[in-house]
Symmetry: C2
Subunit: 261 residues, 2 copies
């Protein structure tokens, strides 16, 4: 929702426009984009043309409306396969999912937001971008808090101001102070709980994934509904969850960090 202020050169502007189209969802007319963007008509027009030319956007033949191009899906597959924890964590998630029979989420952090890079549903399971690629706030999710808690102070200070503290439910943190206090607890316990903070009836227990050097590189969670389990029952799975997180972290040894800006 935030509009970035920085834009290195033409490329930055183009990617900014790309993101604008993405945020809009579906297809957008030129004039809509013009209304939103701070770019003058001609500039916006040329940027869009270039992006279409490059296959990053597609333009409807008739209506002239813009939508994200499938080239992105191709690129992202590479990103997912080579730059995310997903492929590496897969066997561990499979095992955990089979044992606990609940939904498993694997997430990383991307510019202050939680990005789900893989998951296992309690019922059916198949891996596509359908579920990977989704974003969620960090301050009100199990995985988000697990990552925030173990982030180096400098990185956390960057990320905290980006949190909106929108009250999704009565249990959602609404200000930095209370969240910071909970992060302290999470650091002590080693796991984070989502106590219906993002979605009513949905609870989870999450553990940070740390490389051997100690850097948080993501988080795993076991999610369920209040109708199926209690927080105490989730807590019983803590050892198993930590074991999974550790296993992934150990394998990620050679891996590179997922950025901090």
């Amino acid at each position: 929702m935030g509009s970035e202020g920085h834009a290195d050169g033409t490329v930055g502007k183009a990617l900014d426009v790309l993101e604008m189209v993405a945020d809009q969802g579906g297809s957008v007319r030129f004039s809509e984009l013009l209304a939103i963007s701070r770019y003058p008509k001609a500039t916006l027009y040329r940027l869009l043309q270039t992006l279409v030319n490059q296959g990053m956007l597609t333009q409807d033949a008739d209506s002239g409306a813009y939508a994200l191009g499938v080239r992105l899906v191709r690129l992202a597959h590479n990103a997912w396969a080579h730059s995310s924890l997903a492929p590496l964590a897969r066997p561990h998630l499979d095992a955990l999912a089979a044992e606990v029979g609940e939904a498993i989420h694997l997430a990383q952090i991307d510019s202050g937001h939680i990005l789900f890079v893989d998951k296992r549903k309690s019922t059916d399971m198949f891996e596509t971008l359908a579920q990977a690629g989704r974003v969620a706030p960090a301050y009100c999710t199990g995985v988000g808090k697990a990552i925030l808690a173990f982030l180096p102070d400098a990185a956390r200070d960057k990320v905290m101001p980006q949190q909106s503290f929108h009250p999704y439910t009565p249990a959602t943190h609404t200000e930095p102070a209370s969240l910071m206090a909970e992060l302290e607890v999470i650091r002590a316990e080693g796991v984070a709980f989502d106590r219906e903070e993002h979605e009513r009836g949905i609870i989870s227990i999450a553990a940070p994934i740390r490389s051997r050097s100690g850097r948080v590189i993501g988080a795993v969670s076991i999610a369920t509904s209040t109708s199926r389990h209690t927080l105490e029952e989730l807590n019983a799975l803590k050892p198993r969850l930590l074991q999974c997180a550790e296993a992934v972290g150990a394998e990620a040894e050679t891996w590179q960090f997922p950025e901090t800006n």
Copy 2:
């Protein structure tokens, strides 16, 4: 493999570099990229910096090597959800998969290559190469040929020269003429067969997905292995497959084309 000649402006170059990193898979050092690219040192350097800055690439803290950024995964999720046939086709694929019990693939075309946007695994556990976001050549896959066959002449003339005609198996087409001849047959029959042309032991039957205006917008296929089924048995599924393709096409009425360059 192919190095594009066109590059509109700085944005084109930047995306070109992005693609270079993607093609490389995993992480790449600056000098490797320098060796491959036609850009001078300083230029390449600045382009990479910009992309890192924008979160499209990540740079390893220690080694300085570049890899695709997770931001792409986020963008691609939007692309997949809003600009691909996948969400729309989902119920139809589910139904088809349940009925035939074989692997189902949904593909679109992207700059001459086949892009798998969704799939259903067969009940049995044998992995095909396909996955959402994966690319495959058009000339030697069922879905590829199904799309090629029904492409408007102008579009096909653009796409044909992009085919490599690499002989994956003895059954692979190795020159345009024989492929063109088969496309004729496919147009007459309404479906395309993959006769172990891409992968030994893997066969499929594929049908084009056409919008009501008649434009091909993708293809669905039923894939199996020679150990499980024969081409004749696949052919028996033709009516059911065509029905699925038509159902998706009908729903895609309002949808926009997937580009032609």
